[in-house]
């Protein structure tokens, strides 16, 4: 939607430093929530034995996804270039409908709110929302 201002990037990096020790758990919680609250997203994981929150595949994959977000924080100054390989992966191999990036982003924000209620202020919320939208855009680059 928009480019990230220097203030946005600063807010994201500062907040990320605070939350990164819990990144894997945040990812697992967000993914687990998404599968429950938006059941249509389960269609991408038909090959998993157990899609319930807290299950092994959900925990593992949640950590993988948040690893990607961590990577994006480090490449915040040029997300399009930095996430090129991940974009190709999502476009050609995984073929995840980009609408789902927004859905997962929402659930990440919900988990940030439940885990860091005092730090996830409206100012941090808007910066993180913009950042996750920018990540989604970079991931969609190679789709067509």
């Amino acid at each position: 939607m928009t480019t990230l201002t220097p203030k946005d990037k600063d807010t994201v990096k500062t907040f990320w430093a605070k939350i990164s020790p819990k990144a894997a758990a945040i990812g697992a919680d967000a993914l687990g929530r998404m599968l429950v609250v938006y059941p249509q997203t389960k269609t991408y994981f038909a090959h998993w034995k157990d899609l319930s929150p807290g299950s092994a595949p959900v925990k593992k994959h949640g950590a993988t996804v948040m690893g990607g977000v961590a990577d994006a924080v480090g490449k915040i100054d040029d997300l399009t270039a930095g996430l090129l390989n991940l974009s190709e992966l999502h476009a050609f191999t995984l073929r995840v409908d980009p609408a789902n990036f927004k859905i997962l982003a929402h659930n990440i924000l919900v988990v940030l709110a439940t885990t860091f209620p005092n730090d996830f202020t409206p100012e941090v919320h808007v910066a993180m929302d913009k950042f996750l939208a920018a990540v989604a855009l970079a991931l969609s680059e190679k789709y067509r």
């Binding site: 929530r33 709110a113 409206p122 808007v126």
Partner: protein
């Protein structure tokens, strides 16, 4: 018609009976105005909305946030006919207030975040699903009378 299980009804009534309207309402509305600044277009005569601090301390916004949240009471009390219950409010938002119905979802998302922060780990995936289902029905009802 929307079907509600006994569990879903009890989750919704429980959330709202434990709510401090004077706290959650203002928090949700001010968060909406900060996270989605274009929503400020509906509050041009509310005074100083110049920055996040001003929005958070604006007494008009606080009063209005409380009012909006109390507006949800009607849905809680009439879960089997939210569409009918909100017909008049829908006309009001369309004909008098001229609110783009897409904005209802934005406020609903901010309310979800505020409730999530309040309930912490108690805001389980199941409770989130029920709460979001409830808000989706409210949002749809509020948009029904637009033409």
């Amino acid at each position: 018609m929307v079907e509600w299980s006994e569990q879903e009804r009890s989750i919704i009534t429980s959330i709202f009976s434990n709510l401090d309207y004077n706290d959650v309402g203002p928090k949700a509305l001010s968060r909406c105005l900060i996270v989605y600044p274009w929503t400020q277009r509906y509050f041009a005569n509310f005074g100083n909305l110049y920055n996040a601090e001003a929005i958070k301390t604006n007494p008009n916004i606080q009063a209005h946030g409380t009012k909006v949240l109390h507006g949800l009471d009607r849905a809680v009390k009439n879960m089997d006919n939210i569409k009918g219950t909100y017909a008049e409010l829908s006309v009001l938002h369309s004909e008098k207030l001229h609110v783009d119905p897409d904005n209802f979802k934005l406020l609903a998302d901010c309310l979800t975040i505020v409730i999530a922060a309040k309930m912490g780990s108690g805001f389980t995936p199941e409770i989130q699903a029920t709460f979001q289902k409830f808000l989706a029905v409210v949002v749809s009802a509020l948009g029904k009378q637009y033409h």
